[in-house]
């Protein structure tokens, strides 16, 4: 019995963090945000070589075959560095779904993911939130309709489309009848898109894929929660560091009790949230019955504390915190955007209530 990280996990975290510090410093992120899609193929290829792209892909398909907790640590590290990368859909959600459905195509795609050759987008928003008449239909073997806020879809080679809660279609992005348009988010390090299908022919349609879709969403929610945790950590660290340097009234502002209490309150939220996240990620592999509930709670809770920490850590910086130059906004915006991607807190808490029989199932 041991509630904590293993040596291997600490090493993985350390390796990824060192790589990102060297290869994707914040100046590089500033350059990348100007691109049409901020994901840098070179960085992604290098991350693939480190084993990041294939972290959840089975060893038989050239991946590392690790657990979601390991992947969550990577998500957290990527967020700490504000790295733009198609990690969420390509390295987390797609492999979880493809492993669950299985078969030759799925295996081939997983190999390509692990090799860094294939970026996979995931379109699943309409499963839990339909706006702007979005929704994808499958009729006569062809896809029609539109999907909103498809994750990592811009620049992807393959899309996994949740047509309904039990049907998952895999379609190539260059197939006729697929149009992808980036929807810019507040967070310039993330790439979400609208996908319009007009008679596109999927490569494969996985029927009876309810379990695969459910697991894919759970893993995505936990990884996104880890992303927000990484942002929170970084913001608190920056606030504390700044408070030890900046002087007003002839003393460093970190010696003012009001500033101390802001920082204490933030860290007092971060640390238990980390414990919640570790448990949630661990449950995904070790106690899958608990994972649906834990995924909802982890993401909802981190979204809530994230919003507060984003605001307070910026306030600790005063005016400079509000500038583009200070960089703090990269994390502020990453937190603010993550909150909306796989179900907001209110939706997730209602889902948590449903899962426990407290609310009538939708």
């Amino acid at each position: 019995m041991d509630f904590g990280l293993s040596e291997d996990q600490l090493l993985l975290e350390d390796t990824v963090r060192k790589f990102l510090a060297e290869q994707v410093p914040i100046e590089r992120v500033r350059e990348l945000r100007e691109r049409d899609c901020p994901y840098d193929p070179e960085v992604w290829a290098a991350l693939a070589e480190l084993g990041v792209a294939g972290i959840l892909v089975p060893e038989a398909q050239g991946g590392s075959g690790l657990a979601l907790l390991d992947a969550a640590l990577v998500a957290e590290s990527l967020a700490r560095a504000a790295t733009p990368a198609p990690f969420l859909a390509t390295a987390i959600m797609a492999p979880v779904a493809l492993k669950a459905v299985g078969g030759g195509d799925a295996e081939a795609w997983m190999s390509a993911i692990a090799g860094g050759e294939l970026v996979v987008g995931v379109a699943a928003t309409e499963l839990f939130s339909v706006r702007e008449d979005a929704g994808v239909r499958l009729s006569g073997g062809k896809l029609a309709g539109k999907a909103m806020m498809a994750l990592d879809a811009h620049g992807a080679g393959l899309l996994l489309v949740a047509v309904d809660p039990t049907t998952l279609a895999a379609v190539k992005t260059d197939a006729p009848g697929v149009a992808i348009e980036r929807l810019k988010t507040l967070d310039a390090t993330r790439c979400t898109a609208e996908v319009v299908f007009d008679g596109a022919a999927p490569e494969v349609v996985f029927e009876g894929a309810g379990e695969a879709i459910r697991r894919m969403l759970e893993a995505g929610r936990i990884a996104l929660a880890a992303d927000t945790l990484g942002c929170c950590e970084s913001m608190v660290e920056q606030a504390v560091a700044y408070s030890k340097e900046r002087k007003q009234f002839e003393r460093v502002i970190g010696s003012f009790q009001a500033v101390k209490h802001m920082c204490s309150e933030m860290i007092a939220e971060v640390e238990p949230a980390r414990s919640l996240l570790w448990y949630s990620a661990h449950s995904f592999d070790a106690m899958p019955d608990e994972a649906p509930l834990m995924a909802c709670h982890a993401l909802a809770h981190l979204s809530e504390i994230g919003r507060e920490i984003a605001s307070v850590s910026t306030q600790v910086h005063g005016g400079i915190g509000w500038t583009d130059e200070q960089n703090l906004h990269f994390w502020f915006k990453r937190i603010a955007t993550a909150r909306h991607l796989l179900g907001g807190p209110e939706f997730l808490r209602n889902r948590a209530a449903e899962l426990q029989g407290f609310a009538p199932a939708a």
Binding site: M1, D2, F3, G4, L5, S6, Q9, L69, V240, S243, K244, R251, V252, G254, S255, Q257, V259, K260, H261, C263, S264, E265, I267, A268, E269, E271, P272, A273, R274, S275, L276, W278, Y279, H282, A286, M287, M294, H297, A298, A300, H301, E304, E346, R349, N350, A352, A353, F358, A359
Partner: protein, 393 residues
């Protein structure tokens, strides 16, 4: 991360369930004899004083995280407290185990765990609360004894305790933190006068709050724990235990809250059907689960002898506020009836939640206020600079 529950633990869980099924009706009763009998039975089975050496009246098991978790879960399920939350077991005993003489351990630990001896904590004084190290109650050497003079206040349970662990100034010429000793004092010693204070909880909740006056109270010098003048250091171990003991069972309280929400109705409809209240309940569940798993993380660190760092310093602050917030929702769920008090007709659960609310507020203040916790978190946990001392006039 290894939370695997192997067969040995299945068996252990069954054993705990079996025990509870058999003994639950005899759960902690009201009177002292029933309480002692119940705790004695818990110790016999290893559900209380589990890791305290047998030589001192414990069960003598090796610390085991999962066993602790299973016991807490099973006791929670049936709503029976696992042992007794009191200052003796949670603060004095760990201090004696770390700093006590063999004789002190032999004499006090076993009866304290069985609650035959009740302890009160004599720290705060009228002029020394948050700034505890400024305390003035003096112990003057007189032969083999000390003579204690002064006053303590906010002393919980002083009126029903047989013993007091008290901080007194034994070295008046030493610096503030170096002149204090930690002393074990029988409450029936002549010269001690206890005056009870009425608390804001009124008749509900059995909160005993007192002030204690000391006039030439004679206590042997051998009753000092650790070295003379080291009381501050030793008290800090005690406070650390107090704060981790306040890692109260948030999950158990949450379960109780969820049950209340299912049962309470307005217009015949369960409050659990209200999306507004349900959302608050779910938000609290995430916090309660965070603190539960955080507790497991802290326990792991403790068992490995690692310092949990800042992650450990935040526990008291977060748990106390969480408990207060859970009570607040419970009372809101009762609607108009949430205003009822003092065992009035229609009051829910004998006023449990009203008492819990007021008690939680007390815990936010007691054992180091929330503001003091935040100072500690910032200064010791985050390395932020201390407040500059005001220039001497």
């Amino acid at each position: 991360m290894d939370l695997e529950i192997d067969a040995r633990y299945d068996a252990f869980r069954k054993e705990v369930q079996g025990f509870l099924a058999e003994h639950r009706p005899a759960g902690p009763g009201g009177g002292k004899e029933e309480r002692v009998a119940w705790l004695t039975k818990l110790i016999e089975h290893g559900y209380w004083a589990r890791t305290i050496p047998e030589a001192y009246g414990g069960f003598g098991a090796e610390p085991d995280l999962l066993e602790t978790v299973i016991m807490d879960e099973e006791f929670n399920k049936v709503g029976v407290p696992r042992g007794m939350m009191a200052q003796g077991p949670s603060m004095l005993v760990p201090t004696l185990l770390a700093h006590g003489t063999e004789e002190q351990k032999q004499r006090y630990i076993a009866p304290t765990m069985r609650s035959e001896i009740m302890w009160c904590q004599g720290y705060s004084e009228p002029g020394s609360g948050s700034d505890l190290a400024s305390l003035q109650t003096a112990a003057r050497e007189d032969g083999d004894d000390f003579l204690i003079n002064g006053q303590k206040i906010w002393t919980s349970s002083a009126d029903i305790s047989q013993m007091c662990f008290i901080l007194v100034r034994t070295e008046p010429d030493a610096k503030k933190h170096d002149g204090i000793s930690y002393v074990l004092l029988p409450m029936d010693t002549p010269g001690i006068e206890v005056q009870s204070l009425r608390t804001m909880s009124g008749s509900i909740g059995e909160n005993s709050f007192n002030q204690v006056f000391f006039t030439d109270v004679r206590v042997p010098r051998s009753n000092v724990v650790g070295q003379r003048g080291e009381g501050w250091k030793i008290a800090n171990t005690t406070l650390k235990h107090e704060r981790s003991a306040l890692n109260a069972n948030a999950e158990g309280t949450w379960i109780r809250l969820a049950r209340l929400m299912e049962k309470e109705t307005v217009g015949g409809v369960s409050l659990m059907k209200s999306p507004v209240y349900r959302d608050r309940l779910m938000r609290l569940q995430a916090r309660a689960l965070s603190m539960k798993h955080h507790g497991m993380r802290m326990l792991t660190a403790n068992l490995k002898g690692e310092s949990p760092g800042v992650a450990g310093l935040i526990v008291k602050l977060q748990n106390c506020q969480l408990n207060f917030d859970m009570a607040a929702l419970a009372i809101d769920v009762m609607g108009e009836l949430g205003a009822l008090y003092d065992h009035t007709k229609y009051e829910r659960g004998h006023g449990y939640w009203q008492a819990h609310s007021i008690f939680s507020l007390g815990l936010i203040i007691g054992g180091g206020t929330a503001q003091i916790q935040k100072n500690i978190i910032a200064e010791r946990g985050l390395g932020m600079p201390r407040e500059p001392k005001p220039a001497k006039a």
